[in-house]
Symmetry: D2
Subunit: 129 residues, 4 copies
């Protein structure tokens, strides 16, 4: 993805496949930059991918394209991330002040690597509510 700044760039090689109507799909190659000591996708990189993919999904379905401010994030880890993984984010609700999104992360062999859920405050400012 072009135009990434700051910590978004820690997900080296991240590619946006599609984003529209509250859904987004992204791909990330498991390179040394995002590995843990076991040479699989780092748990922090997975959490970051949940955050980035979820935010893009929310923005894609929000009238004002607002990114919001994260208030809660959780991830469950099922299998090691190897090769290339695809994150699929789906907005669960985009309400007056809060948006919720779920993100599945899968390997190319179909194995579910992780699932996360994120809550964002959608106020006009980026300050914490």
């Amino acid at each position: 993805m072009d135009g990434l700044t700051g910590f978004d760039r820690s997900l080296a090689g991240l590619e946006l496949l599609e984003a529209a109507g509250g859904k987004a799909r992204l791909r990330l190659p498991v390179s040394p930059a995002v590995e843990n000591i076991n040479h699989t996708l780092h748990g922090g990189a997975i959490a970051t991918l949940v955050d980035v993919a979820g935010t893009i999904a929310i923005m894609s379905g929000d009238r004002g394209g607002r990114p919001g401010v994260t208030t809660d994030l959780n991830v469950s880890y099922f299998a090691s991330g190897q090769g290339t993984v695809t994150a699929e984010a789906v907005v669960l609700k985009n309400g007056r002040t809060l948006a919720f999104v779920t993100v599945d992360i899968r390997r190319d062999d179909g194995v579910l690597v992780a699932q996360g859920r994120m809550t964002k405050h959608m106020g006009p400012s980026l300050a914490h509510p």
Copy 2:
């Protein structure tokens, strides 16, 4: 911290203050490398800091120094991370096969930026259980 590899290095400038007996304290300067578009600490960097600080705390209190494999991680975000933040991790339980740790992340002005909790499987291998 020296000796970091892979995605652990995404937390540029991370410093280990102490780690012993199931507790760990680390410091992270909020530099451009770990920022979001709002120029505060990125939510993914905070989740990664919970993972790294929590893992070091668990290793410090584990007889075999095992890092474990993360099974669940959650973070609540309260305030923007600016300046330098300190992560304080405390092991809640280190059982036969599962370890739990809580992590507080504070700014130097004392404001609580985020709190996370992580569960790790402490089996002999680094494969997912």
Copy 3:
């Protein structure tokens, strides 16, 4: 459901629609017994429903029919539960020692009331791991 004991009985009127192969569907009428002060489904009743529906789904897909011991549970709440709600639980992974399940709770008008995820330790005993 017949045969419920203890706190499972707090979900008065709970009905098991189906359970097989790692999936389960249950219905719960929003009666005074499970309400909050706002006369909608209590957040604790929703969390209990995630636990019960998730456990039944896991047992339905487990060779030994083991219920496991819960290690982590999370719930996000989207809309008020009114009328009758249906919980749909799907096992995400049933590994050697851990099982994961996601649960959607919907109203009859299709509105998603809540989504939860639960992790259970599947050891031979019911002691905490």
Copy 4:
């Protein structure tokens, strides 16, 4: 506790020890009404106790005494709840629109049974935000 209605009453024998300034302590005997099939405190009862204790702590520290609407709740389970347990809830933040609280649940022998965290929307109405 007197005056409880609806699902709050499922926690039979619940006693409020103190609540002031954003902190609350409650006691719950592990009777058959709140047990699981293993005759220890049910995971759903623990989640409900996190919700109830956390809400009382938030109300005790809120100028308007508002209960808020739960948006996210998580619980990690460490040990079986037996005898009588004490829930200790501490508000982490009470902001303009969101409040966060953490809850420890301990047995009388000091063992930590569970830890939960809850996020509530503190708007003027009890509708979901």
